[in-house]
Symmetry: C2
Subunit: 258 residues, 2 copies
Amino acid sequence: MLGSMNRPSIRANAEQAVVDCAACPLRPLDAFVPMSEREVEFMRSFKSGELTVSRGALIFEQGTESAYLFTLLEGFAIRYAMLPDGRRQVLNFVFKGDLLGLQGEMLGEMQHTVEAATPVRLCVFSRRRIWDLFTNVPERAYDLTWLAAREESLLGDRLVSVGQMNGHERVAHALARLYLRGRSLGMVEDGRMPLPYRQRDLADGLGLSLVHTNKILRDFRERQIVAWRERTLVVTNFDALQAEAGMEDGDLPPRPLI
Amino acid sequence: MLGSMNRPSIRANAEQAVVDCAACPLRPLDAFVPMSEREVEFMRSFKSGELTVSRGALIFEQGTESAYLFTLLEGFAIRYAMLPDGRRQVLNFVFKGDLLGLQGEMLGEMQHTVEAATPVRLCVFSRRRIWDLFTNVPERAYDLTWLAAREESLLGDRLVSVGQMNGHERVAHALARLYLRGRSLGMVEDGRMPLPYRQRDLADGLGLSLVHTNKILRDFRERQIVAWRERTLVVTNFDALQAEAGMEDGDLPPRPLI
DNA sequence: CGGTACATTGAGGCAAGTCAAGTTGAGTGG
DNA sequence: CCACTCAACTTGACTTGCCTCAATGTACCG
């Protein structure tokens, strides 16, 4: 279902119909806070188009500036930072509904790269209009800050995981969180959800070697807890997964969508 | 000079003079962006008092709500998260000028604890007035978002360090960053700055054991790169320290003060 | 002076890393 | 439709960075 695209891509495609914010497929999902008429109206004017990129394309690149902010409409991406010698730390798995580029907007230069892990469709917002939002639509400005605070909180979680947990706990923790996120976005069906990343990506996100990560995944698979094969995550025993992760907090609260 | 206090503490002390924002000792420091008259005036009305706490006191506690935001005026603190079994991840070393509690304000509940590492003096802001700021002083709201974005960026850095670097690199990286932060706050004199934390705190921040951290510190000391003893950091060879950390980015840009 | 809190050091073990071969599956072109 | 390529996943064997355990040292404090 997420095969390669037969379109040239990497540029905005005017031919294809653009989603009207009023009919946004994301907004009704459990993951998001309902939006007022006024807010939808504003978003409609705020949105300046859509962008489609193919797998492997860089949506943002570490060390550069960008004139746009994006919200991921469809597909999967990955946010990472690289060290000069090539080591890579995955900071975040990007799912639909996630806002991208706020950091670049605020700090000027991106501190990380965002890469499409599948073909991806993005809502485009112009950077220059951010200030309008602060002066004219304080509710939306507040939501923006809320999102930044939440992103920080999630990164903190990840730091706890990488800093304090052993390999099994880290993998279990990461898969459990991904599963819950997927569920809140309606991507889970019968315990299965698409998760089109590579083992390398997970390993780089957890600070583990690829080989070790692979062995932990095998262990979980053999013990009938989770199986992640062919870009699909199958959670057989969610309780065991949570137990393995040594934590038991459930769903994340709904968040504003921008 | 940072001995224990002989005052009861943990409560606001009306007797002692409160710093007027116009005469804020932090604002003129290199670390901060200059503030307009209008902004100073707003901050003066926004500030609702000061709080002094003694070493070891908890300024915020994981899992609770708080009615206040704080800016650290004087002293040192530490921000950490704990796992149910007692493992601790230090998220941040808090220096003067740092804003505390934004996450609690936005998300409702604090996801981490903030503890005073020395006696500490804080500016107090009422949570309830945050919304005023979004509706009436968009510049300040923007600054708030800016700070949240920067905090996220710094956490990302730390994640890269903990996830990808070996012990020596992590310690060097952390000490180099602390030194640069201290310098921008005018705390460095002759290559020395106060750093009143314990080795345990650094170890918990880097995801290393106390013993291993201690051995790395000894190595750096013997090699005349940095020495951290008696709550003082002495950087003998900053270039070597940066080299050891495998990175070479300099000072952080100035930031807004709130 | 005993107590408490940190720092330091040595010894031994294991979780996780590195190296080195496969295997599998999808895409591609003859 | 089969051979070839290439990227991703697996697995086994060996190595090591970092951990844990267990003392000991040191400084301050009541």
